[in-house]
């Protein structure tokens, strides 16, 4: 199996900011990402859980984005602008991908 190196970026961010984050990523030329639901968590702003919640306010989502190394900088710039005043975590991992032509 031929694999190529790429970066896996994981951004955990408040649910009401999802739309703004993904729009910013798209504007920065990011072609693909995937959004995972989050059940709850803990951080400096305390513990939270989605159980029984109606408002999107008290929740987060995880956005995963696999991207070529050379485009990482733009992505992080775009993400940082959205995330900077907000809670949330941005992490980047090295990875290998199949079908690299897609990224």
């Amino acid at each position: 199996m031929e694999t190529n190196t790429a970066k896996r970026v994981e951004i955990i961010i408040e649910a009401p900011m999802e739309e703004r984050l993904t729009s910013a990523l798209e504007r920065a030329g990011v072609k693909g990402f995937t959004v995972l639901p989050v059940l709850g968590g803990t951080g400096r702003s305390g513990r939270w859980s989605r159980e029984g919640q109606v408002s999107r306010a008290g929740g987060m989502v995880a956005v995963i984005c696999i991207i070529r190394e050379e485009r990482l900088h733009d992505l992080l710039e775009a993400a940082f602008k959205v995330v900077k005043n907000h809670i949330g975590v941005v992490s980047v991992t090295d990875c290998q991908v199949l079908r690299a032509e897609r990224f």
């Binding site: 408040e14 703004r20 305390g46 159980e51 109606v54 408002s55 306010a57």
Partner: protein
């Protein structure tokens, strides 16, 4: 009058609705793992908005549009704009919140809580008191203005409000907020389809309504209790006092406005309840986007953990007594 209030309050405290809220609160405080799935909670709230909006529309289509409709809408919007200013001033006196947190909390108290409204209509119904069907539309109109006041309050102090790229789209988001759209949309559909339409879906939105409300309040109790448990330390005596004083104050402004506009006793009471209630769906979400520095556990706990239970148990009977006393 005190007797009436106490009598109403006692009746109210022993209604299934309140008791299920208390059950949820107690379960969460005791750290039971009882929980309502998020999807079910959202489903219940969709049902309530759908039913309350539709029935409001049918009521208006039935009784005709009252001359006071426009005036009441205007009064509601003005209240929603003004109440945050009062709340902000009061918070400055009663608490040590910083400007951003105070602005965020103030915004919640200008806006409304639809479940508090629903609980109030359900007491009116059980007392056989009529009210204007369009109060649902007033509720919808009062959701958003308070958010703008809150943002203005925060920015006045140079507060780090969302930059333009974030603010962009915020207004649209607020006005097209899911709960407003569903409430107003159902209201309009009720208005168009009228009694005939209601007959078709009555056994879905009328008969089971109160039972669904019980389940929803169970869930609200669970969420409120979890919030209170996780926010030990957040709630100072000053904040708690504010959470009780503010709704009473707001209800008096609502009373004045309602009497001025010439609403029926039921309508006055509902306007009081709307004024007194604090948002916990639309405003928190807007604050996360527009005032990210504000501490969510403050405003959520205040709104859901202090003011909501107060209104539900004591506030609503009080507002009803006052409205009956001053109303015609």
């Amino acid at each position: 009058m005190l007797e009436t209030i106490l009598g109403l309050a006692a009746d109210n405290l022993l209604s299934p609705i309140i008791l299920f809220f208390v059950l949820g609160l107690a379960a969460a405080m005791l750290r039971s793992d009882l929980s309502v799935p998020e999807a079910i909670a959202k489903g219940l709230s969709i049902y309530l908005l759908f039913a309350i909006g539709y029935k409001g529309g049918v009521a208006v289509s039935d009784h005709g549009i009252d001359a006071t409709l426009l005036m009441t809408l205007t009064a509601g919007i003005v209240l929603s704009f003004v109440l945050p200013l009062i709340a902000f001033a009061l918070l400055g006196v009663m608490t040590r919140l910083n400007r951003t947190d105070a602005a965020a909390v103030a915004g919640h108290y200008g806006s409304i809580s639809i479940v508090t409204f629903v609980a109030a209509t359900s007491i009116l119904k059980s007392q056989g008191i009529l009210s204007e069907g369009y109060m649902v539309a007033v509720a919808a109109a009062m959701e958003a203005p308070a958010i703008l006041s809150a943002l203005w309050l925060a920015s006045r102090g140079g507060g780090n409000v969302a930059d333009s790229s974030e603010r962009e789209g915020l207004l649209r988001e607020i006005l097209l907020n899911g709960s407003i759209v569903l409430l107003v949309g159902s209201f309009l559909i009720g208005l168009v389809t009228g009694k005939e339409g209601l007959a078709e879906i009555e056994s879905f939105i009328v008969a089971p309504f109160k039972g669904v409300l019980c389940l929803f309040l169970l869930d609200m109790g669970l969420v409120a209790g979890r919030g209170l448990r996780n926010s030990r330390g957040t709630l100072t005596a000053g904040l708690i006092s504010f959470g009780i004083v503010m709704p009473v104050l707001s209800s008096l402004l609502g009373l004045a406005a309602g009497l001025l506009v010439g609403l029926s006793t039921g309508g006055v009471m509902l306007l009081m309840t709307l004024s007194a209630s604090a948002s916990y769906i639309a405003v928190p979400a807007a604050m996360r986007v527009a005032l990210p520095q504000a501490n969510p556990s403050v405003y959520l706990t205040m709104s859901l953990g202090v003011t909501f239970p107060f209104n539900l148990t004591l506030g609503i009977p009080l507002y009803l007594s006052l409205a009956s006393f001053f109303g015609n």
